[in-house]
Amino acid sequence: MSHDFVPVQWNRQKYVYDGILIVAIMAFLSSFILFGLNAKVADPSILIMRALGACAIVLLHVVLAIGPLARLSDRFKPLLYNRRHFGVITAVIGLLHGAFALMWYHGFGVINPIASAIGGYGDYGVPIEFPFESLGLIALVILLTMAATSHDFWLSRLTPPIWKALHMCVYVAYAALIGHVALGTAQFDKGVGLFWALGIGAVLMSGLHVASMLKGRSLDTQADMKTDWVNIGDPMSIPLNKAVTITPANGERIAVFRHAKGISAVDAVCSHQNGPLGEGCVIGGLVTCPWHGFQFDPETGEAPAPFTDRVQTHEVRIENGTVWVNSTPDAFGTKRIAIQVPS
């Protein structure tokens, strides 16, 4: 993983994933064009342009749904694993739509196409006069920046918090795209079908995100004591090879694992992409992140050689049949021997 950067770490699942994705895109575009041909549009180019735009927004809905779906059901984790390819392909489809539409409707004139699209007409103060192209442009710039910085190199180069913040802008892009399509439709199309579709999409997205947030909260045990030591309770309440995640009053979430060697605690936030390590599993003695399978030794927080990723460990004690965890993390690389559960 981060010991070395290669263009793409291909494996069989990624090939299959990308293959299915491309088939899905082709299915979308061809059925769009097939059913759109009935409408006798002036030029097939226009139909293709619209199909690409519609495809991009549908893909964005799906890619945004992956995170919450994967938290709600393990069955969706395979979707999450290669989500960045999904995102990059979405951005490329959006770029094709944007570039095509920009040149077609604003190119070859006396002022440059971007200026024409964002300020050539209309009035930003009035919804029905709003130059809706500008919202599409904002979304496109965000999606392209995300796609361009999706490689793990950028994650380590920018540091995870900045990278994550940059990639959270996807929600800004989503809102801008909803505005782009809604305004473009409202300004012209009398048919309400697309409005309904957009609305249903937005409700689904918010519903999924709220549901996943609630589930995330219910997985976490809130520790309200202000002391450093947090009570986890009965060690056997932690499922074998799984973790209980707690949120201390001060500091980051902690994942407390029960595995073959005993009880260990590490940061619940994966050092790779801030994945939910506490929802991971111990496989072959290593804590494995549910997102991209990054692995860490539960006793040292370090990835097995040659990988260099690491998370912080936490001190664990068992007193009178109760597990206690120190909410202050150890220095990176501190080894904490797993505490055996008294039988």
């Binding site: 494996n11 699942q13 990624k14 899905a24 299915a27 979308f28 575009l29 061809s30 059925s31 769009f32 097939l34 059913f35 009935n38 409408a39 006798k40 002036a42 030029d43 226009i46 139909l47 619209r50 199909a51 519609a54 495809c55 549908v58 393990d74 069955r75 984790k77 395979p78 694993y81 290669n82 409707y105 604003h106 070859f108 004139g109 006396v110 002022i111 024409s116 699209a117 050539g120 007409y121 209309g122 130059p131 192209e133 473009g184 300004q187 012209f188 199309d189 009398k190 048919g191 079908g193 697309l194 579709a197 090879n241 799984k242 991971g280 599993c281 111990v282 496989i283 549910p290 399978g293």
Partner: protein, 251 residues
């Protein structure tokens, strides 16, 4: 240990539970996405039969008139001339005003009339005399409801070539000097009275002096408006001479 076997790791073997799920979910997902495409695609509204015959340029002989946009007159039938892209053909047509010429251009067709899209160099003077440019018929004052649009998009290039969604494009074309139409009918079902009335649903719009109106109306393009104007017929075309300050937005 069943948990461990069921735990998905991207680079590992696919757990059986996931395999079973994927075998069902992938076809369902593909079907859903194709259905969504079909649904959105089918929402497209017919914009009539306008088309841009880029592949098959035509060569025609006639006379160049300005009304106030360039028009090729062929035996009393006027074909409005647009430049390539979003810039007018005025500069290279002006030198041939009133002369007999041969023009090679792209037909921009709507219903049973068409205009021509030409580039610099597509027009040359010829010795053969062609029929004269018709003269203006009687005029009448009208109040009329419609939209200010660029002629070539309305006629056949864009879908839609009218309405607010098309404002940006129409404004860019008119800013570039392309012929300005005042359009009163948009769809194919707004039937045209006869083959001779190409201007019937697209009037050439001139300012009070009968000159190009482009720069004066950039803020009122592609929105429903009402105007007062003097209507003049010339050949098969109509020209509206706009009464300055009479334009009112309808929405």
């Amino acid at each position: 240990m069943s948990d461990e076997k069921d735990f998905f790791v991207g680079y590992g073997a696919l757990p059986n539970k996931d395999k079973r799920f994927i075998l069902k979910a992938v076809p369902a997902g593909l079907l859903a996405i194709a259905g969504t495409g079909a649904f959105i695609g089918s929402r497209a509204v017919s914009q009539g039969g306008g088309r841009w015959e880029t592949g098959t340029p035509v060569t025609m002989q006639g006379r160049i008139g300005f009304h106030p946009y360039p028009v090729l007159w062929v035996d009393g039938i006027g074909h409005v001339i647009a430049g390539i892209g979003k810039q007018s053909a005025d500069a290279y047509c002006k030198v041939f005003e009133g002369q007999s010429v041969e023009v090679t251009g792209v037909k921009i067709v709507r219903n049973n009339c068409f205009m021509l899209g030409i580039a610099n160099g597509d027009i040359k003077a010829i010795k053969t005399a062609t029929s004269p440019i018709p003269s203006y018929g009687p005029t009448k004052d009208v109040s009329i409801v419609g939209e200010v649009l660029d002629a070539q998009c309305f006629m056949g290039i864009m879908n839609p070539g009218y309405g607010r969604t098309h404002r940006g494009c129409a404004t860019q074309c008119i800013r570039g000097g392309q012929p300005v139409f005042f359009s009163i009918g948009f769809r194919e079902d707004d039937a045209l009275p006869s083959a001779q009335t190409c201007g019937g649903n697209g009037y050439l719009l001139a300012n009070a002096e009968g000159e190009k109106i482009n720069a004066e109306i950039l803020n009122d393009i592609a929105v429903p408006v009402t105007i007062h104007a003097k209507l003049e017929k010339i050949g098969n075309l109509y020209r509206l001479v706009y009464k300055t300050g009479s334009m009112r937005r309808l929405s």
